[in-house]
Subunit: 285 residues, 3 copies
């Protein structure tokens, strides 16, 4: 495995990332998200994601990014619900983009091919990040997916509705979102939420092999195909903007604030409290 110093020499900026560990192999950039103890999608992580995308897109030697977690039990937990206002600042660096939804849409629309290698839990905005990646491969034993916003009174604001409805169809998307339940990797595979569920012991080599294979193909063909697929399967920016507005509105409702407050007391945003999110939600009502 190439040392991180290889990468640092190509871009001192990327070496400065605080919350993402990167190493490269050929045209593949491996990005490990490291925000212990539960990979909360903090404003700092958002700033690093923006930097990473900017620099990787500007470097023609990269074709593929693989996102994985450096933290046990969590891929990306979700936003820090106590810092909603800070996210707009964190995403302001990408030209014209000032919401998580548009940052994620930027990732989907990028010429770079992105793969989410999901081990552990990912919910809410964490799941929306995974959905923004071009492909998702999940560890059968550990990966867990949820879009549980309505349990708190929220409307998903960063693309979850857009992607889940297109991937799962109307009925399964409504079940997944309105039900706010945890989905196992196998169930997520059956619903088309992830490309495939694989044994945890095989996941790493499967993803690496696919990433290196794709990275061996001409960049112009990869970018051209992404453009054509996105013209069909990626929602318009307006749809992401509208969802973001609805999220903000739903977050400001007194009932939502009350539920978030109660959930924080029950263990929301703690590593242990979110190991069993279903129980946490059940205790709210």
């Amino acid at each position: 495995m190439p040392d991180i110093s290889d990468f640092a020499s190509r871009s001192s900026m990327i070496a400065s990332l605080e919350t993402i560990k990167v190493h490269t192999e050929g045209a593949v950039l491996f990005a490990q998200i490291a925000v212990p103890p539960m990979n909360l999608l903090t404003p700092a992580l958002v700033r690093d994601l923006v930097s990473l995308m900017q620099h990787a897109e500007a470097d023609d030697t990269f074709k593929v990014i693989v996102f994985a977690s450096a933290v046990p039990d969590y891929f990306i937990a979700h936003v820090d619900v106590t810092k909603v206002k800070e996210y707009r600042e964190a995403t302001a660096k990408l030209p014209g983009e000032s919401s998580l939804g548009l940052l994620f849409r930027h990732i989907s629309a990028s010429r770079l091919v992105t793969i989410a290698q999901v081990e552990g839990r990912t919910r809410g905005v964490g799941n929306e990040f995974a959905l923004a990646c071009d492909m998702r491969f999940a560890a059968r034993e550990t990966a867990i997916f949820a879009q549980p916003e309505p349990a708190l009174g929220l409307i998903p604001g960063a693309g979850g509705v857009q992607h889940l409805t297109r991937l799962l169809g109307r009925a399964r998307a409504l079940e997944a979102i309105l039900g706010s339940e945890d989905f196992t990797a196998d169930q997520a595979e059956r619903y088309g939420w992830v490309n495939r569920a694989l044994p945890a012991s095989e996941l790493d080599s499967f993803v690496k092999s696919l990433a290196l294979r794709i990275a061996s193909f001409p960049a112009s063909a990869l970018a051209g195909i992404k453009t054509r697929v996105n013209a069909i399967g990626l929602a318009d920016a307006d749809d992401f903007i509208r969802d973001s507005e609805l999220f903000v509105q739903s977050a400001s409702r007194p009932e939502t604030q009350k539920r978030i407050g109660a959930a924080l007391q029950k263990g929301l945003q703690t590593r242990d409290g979110e190991m069993d999110f279903g129980r946490l939600i059940d205790e709210l009502t």
Copy 2:
């Protein structure tokens, strides 16, 4: 289980339903369709569905409706093919809506979350009703789905084409409709026709648990999410209107009338005759 009188006290109108038995638990309304011997979607049942939706939507204490069957072997059979003209009257009560397709689209677009708990056969318009519900959960041993209009020379007129094409994709929707075959719950699950197939013994508690869970979440979030999902996954009213026109045209063709006549002689619209619909169709040709 709460007595029906709880519900009657909340709405004398709903207590007057002739073809639907209702009881409530919290914000969930359980509606059991009871048109023995085979739950034909008679004009009387359509009138009751219109009343039920009108009153449930007007009552803020309701968030979820679960539709099930009170009749063995059938969820909803299909329309009464001898009374096609009477349906327009039955649906005329909903403002601006005068077809089964638009009634069903009204149910899909409603703020209320609707769940079809399918045991037994559902074909044609019965299947289109199930497809109009937000989610479908099917008893593995007994549920059977079909959209067999072309076998009689008909074009599905109440949303079957719209929903099946979006849920199953072009190829499987064409197979399902053009083939006019019965689909088991397991095959329907693999095709995305239903959310899940479950053992009959677990179906009731699974659906009830999900319904109560959803009903514990803030109504504004549920309605907001349905609006956004429907903007992607629910066809325009114009598409339902066009399908309804094509159904009427196809019903008036002499070959269709001849086939319907022959099918009625072979057992169409009889409880026993439709236990094996495939045989009935095969005998037509």
Copy 3:
């Protein structure tokens, strides 16, 4: 099984086909593609497909066409990459259509119901032909599907992107195309690439039974339903035209020409060389 002479008497033109063996049974036309040794989609085969469609569409006695292969191990391999210019001539007979993509779209939009019975390998344009058919049933033991254009620097030009994105969803379509891997029938079934994977021993009777059943239904209903499903699930002609342009552009790039040249040396377009396409691609890089 009716003799081919039955069919010849109905249309001397179709009897003149050089690359397709046809026989009929009632309203079903069985077309076996026969371009040994690997069913390359040669200009001659394209001319015959155009003739077949023209005559079958003009003959009201036909309702369904089943396409299968008369050659072991291959359904349709792909285009002859050395004769790209000749295809435009071959498709020029259909009015207003002068690309493979528009020929295939014509097949999808036809009043005739088309079924691909896939045994053996089908890749690239061969796979795009299969996708243009209304349904695909695959032999579990032998069918293999791939859309491996990017491995050569190409963008799929005849509808593969349009169909795969709509059938598989954005993420699985990107995996399938960008990864350029061979998919087994079972994996293709899980992704919705084919309707069903069946044991090879059952495939023939399953497809024949379905074709005859559909062919027993009134033609006006079949055509009306196809029109309505296509309005949702079939891409516009403009999308096929754009993909065709991008294919031509991508084919003219020096890197693409170099890769095609190298692949021809490694066994591309040979029966043996393409038995293991993955190895062939891996050796390019």
